[in-house]
């Protein structure tokens, strides 16, 4: 059983500070939905508003089309997985998992049965009698999920539950979370500041900044067609090229920067006019070193400054004539021995792989 979750004009204020401002979003039943944003952007506040720990100052939270105002967290069909998991250290694993059944007065045998079922679901059969501190990080994670699933909530809320794990485990847990979601088929609302997590697991994501929603959409949509400079730079990496619009060519705009003219694609809902202050964005992986016969829409002269080896990619940091910095990545398989610090080269990129947006502030790294 899954349920829709709808936030209608939700604002949460602390004094005069807006933790969330006029948030409107509808999460469909059975969806894996992520709120993505930097720390302090209000995403945890929204989660607390959905789970009932925080009453919205304005607006309504609807779960299954029912208004949730005045209904406490223990009466809502949601389950929250806390950032620190908040497992009960004095109880065994089984007791932790069956806690929600215990407080509902379910008999001991029933509880045991259900706990065993859930232990099987999270692949921890026979470990129910262990204490929580005897489990590893990933196991604790799974116990927290099982505990939240014990009463079959309609909505599962996850507050950055993977942030404390190491990289390998985090990657594995991503897949596991996704699998569990498919198996139990309930709505997952996931909060994270890690765009990699959000992109790999979610059906849709909502990008938040300073309490407001910047963009809601499918992962590739948000990545390829960012709606604001903030989204363009927060989700993935992007090189900004500042300038003024000098010409419109269909759905594309020409931008005049201190280092030359570039052609970039406009967003449908963010049309530009000639003379507008704007920023063109090009991702590091969309910048290419032209080979013979290549003909790119845009060419850009750079001076290589430094180099960084990441494994699958090689990252180059370069500067333009005006002093602006630019980063580009090359797959490790490509030979780049001729490119050394101090050398000047020409890079090319396609206008279809570059977006142009009205000038606004970027995400600060």
């Amino acid at each position: 059983m899954s349920a829709d979750v709808e936030l209608s004009d939700v604002s949460v204020t602390f004094g005069s500070f807006y933790a969330a401002k006029n948030v409107n979003v509808k999460v469909n039943g059975g969806e894996f939905f992520s709120f993505l944003g930097p720390s302090g952007c209000g995403k945890t506040t929204l989660l607390r508003a959905i789970s009932g720990f925080q009453e919205p100052s304005e607006g309504k939270v609807l779960i299954d089309n029912k208004d949730m105002s005045g209904i406490g967290p223990n009466k809502r069909p949601t389950a929250l997985i806390f950032q620190n998991l908040a497992l009960f250290p004095l109880m065994s694993v089984s007791e932790n998992i069956a806690f929600s059944l215990e407080v509902r007065g379910v008999s001991k045998e029933e509880r045991k049965k259900r706990a065993d079922e859930l232990l099987e679901l999270i692949a921890l059969e026979g470990q129910g009698d262990k204490k929580v501190h005897q489990l590893s990080g990933g196991q604790k994670q799974r116990v927290a999920i099982a505990r939240a699933l014990a009463v079959e909530p309609k909505v599962l809320l996850l507050d950055e539950p993977l942030s404390a794990l190491d990289l390998k485990l985090r990657q594995r847990m991503r897949t596991e979370l996704r699998e569990i979601q498919k198996r139990v088929n309930i709505t997952f609302i996931y909060i994270t500041h890690d765009q990699g997590e959000a992109l790999t697991m979610s059906d849709r994501i909502a990008v938040m900044n300073e309490g407001e929603l910047e963009q809601i959409g499918k992962c590739d949509e948000v990545y390829n067609n960012p709606l604001t400079p903030f989204v363009a730079t927060f989700v993935g990496e992007n090189n900004p090229l500042y300038g003024k619009v000098t010409g419109i060519e269909g759905d594309k705009a020409r931008i005049e920067t201190a280092d030359g003219q570039y052609l970039a694609t406009m967003n449908e809902s963010k049309k530009l006019n000639i003379g507008d202050e704007s920023i063109a964005f090009v991702r590091p992986e969309s910048l290419f070193i032209p080979r013979d016969g290549d003909n790119f829409d845009n060419k850009i002269d750079v001076n290589i400054e430094s180099f960084e080896f990441e494994g699958n990619l090689k990252n180059f940091y370069a500067s333009l004539k005006s002093g602006a910095k630019i980063k580009f990545s090359v797959p490790n398989a490509i030979d780049t021995s001729s490119i050394t610090s101090g050398s000047s080269i020409v890079l090319g990129f396609e206008s279809s792989k570059s977006v142009i947006l009205p000038k606004a502030s970027l995400a600060i790294d």
Binding site: S51, G52, F53, G72, P73, N74, K75, T78, A79, L80, F82, N84, A86, L87, F88, L90, F99, S100, E102, V103, R104, K130, Q134, R147, A148, A150, V151
Partner: protein, 393 residues
């Protein structure tokens, strides 16, 4: 060098207790080590009927002491049942209060500790005397003038603050998201309290109860006012000391020390057992996880001489020396006590006789040298006493 310092420190700490404990076994009427009369357990038992007929009570036969202990126990139980919940509630409130109010609340909460106990005792009596005066005869008048009830209230005033501090310390490390998690999983506030908070606080509840009881049991300065006409152990002891100390008090002290040591050792043994069990379960868990055989190897600990051995040896040497001296000089057992008593009695009789022989005759008393119409110069029976007295220059 370090050892010497430690020895001096512990000698300073425990010396008086050891001396006092030894005096409990001396049959003399006053607690002393020298002169040693006889080795005896009489001060633990029925005490002694002195040769002049006075009863010097021992530990077992002193009914005032027994009454005092019983009321101390009742008061202790009352104080524990009141101050532990009060302290816990106050500490929980502190976790809920934010902002500047928190500091004010904290200061007010710990204030009773800073008041002199005497003032708490007197003010409780004054307040309840007024309350008792309101209702005329009846329940309120009875309870308002009941020493045990008043003492429980008066002691709770400041002992609950110690409990509060214990709970505050424990609650500071409490992860409040656990409460939220429990709520989120459908628990009511009451269930959160009993299933999450109380189990977490149970060590603090235990230590607060023990400390509250001990504070109550040994309290004097508040109790002495609020107890009114009743007696607790401390007030009984204090009133005894006022009349002169008896070895029965040494016997009591030794009993309390022994009980304390037994309790401490039992606790430590149980704690170590639990720790060992925990370590074993951990080890088992690690072994299950690690296929590596190196971990499974047993390391046998070699025999080590405990560090406190010198102190123990010292005590043993002194005890043996004392015991041999007592045995050699036949300073133990009923025969010794009888002999000592006989000797004292004869001395007493001797003194009585001397007094009787020196007693003034009736004639001397009535007409005699002290009264009558004689000159004051003759007051000391020697008319020439002040003859050469030249004055006070």
């Amino acid at each position: 060098m370090m050892g010497i310092y430690i020895f001096i420190f512990f000698a300073y700490l425990f010396g008086p207790l050891i001396i006092m404990s030894i005096t409990a076994f001396n049959s003399a009427e006053f607690p002393s080590i020298t002169p040693w009369e006889c080795f005896s357990f009489r001060w633990f038992n029925e005490g002694k009927i002195a040769y002049d007929g006075q009863h010097l009570a021992g530990l077992l036969s002193d009914w005032r002491l027994h009454d005092g202990i019983i009321s101390s126990l009742i008061i202790g139980a009352g104080v524990v049942t009141l101050s532990v919940p009060i302290g816990m509630a106050a500490a929980i409130v502190l976790t809920q209060v934010r902002s500047q109010l928190r500091d004010i609340y904290y200061s007010i909460s710990i204030m009773p500790v800073l008041f002199p106990g005497v003032i708490i005792g007197i003010s409780t009596v004054v307040l309840w005397d007024r309350i008792a005066g309101l209702g005329g005869e009846g329940f309120i008048a009875d309870i308002g003038r009941n020493g045990i009830f008043l003492t429980i209230l008066a002691q709770t005033c400041f002992i609950s603050t110690y409990c509060f501090l214990i709970f505050v310390a424990r609650l500071q490390r409490f992860d409040q998201t656990q409460e939220e998690a429990a709520l989120d999983l459908g628990a009511s506030q009451t269930q959160v309290f009993f299933k999450i908070l109380v189990p977490y606080l149970s060590p603090a509840i235990a230590s607060a109860a023990v400390i509250a009881f001990l504070f109550s049991f040994e309290n004097y300065n508040t109790t002495v006012f609020s107890i009114l006409s009743d007696q607790t152990l401390t007030t009984v002891i204090a009133s005894k000391v006022r009349l002169g100390i008896s070895p029965a008090l040494s016997a009591l002290a030794l009993t309390i020390i022994a009980l304390t040591i037994i309790a401490a050792v039992t606790y430590e043994v149980l704690r170590r057992k639990a720790e060992k069990r925990y370590a074993e379960s951990q080890e088992k868990f690690v072994k299950e996880k690690a296929a590596d055989n190196r971990i499974n190897k047993k390391y046998k600990a070699g025999f080590k001489i405990p560090k406190g051995i010198t102190a123990i040896l010292l005590i043993v040497v002194f005890a043996t020396y004392g015991a041999t001296q007592i045995v050699k000089n036949d300073l133990y057992g009923q025969s010794c006590i009888d002999a000592a008593d006989k000797e004292k009695k004869s001395k007493f009789l001797e003194q009585l006789q001397t007094l009787e022989s020196n007693e003034l005759t009736d004639e001397e008393l009535s007409g005699g040298s002290l009264g009558g119409n004689q000159d004051y110069g003759d007051i000391f029976g020697d008319p020439s006493l002040f003859q050469d007295f030249g004055g006070f220059d």
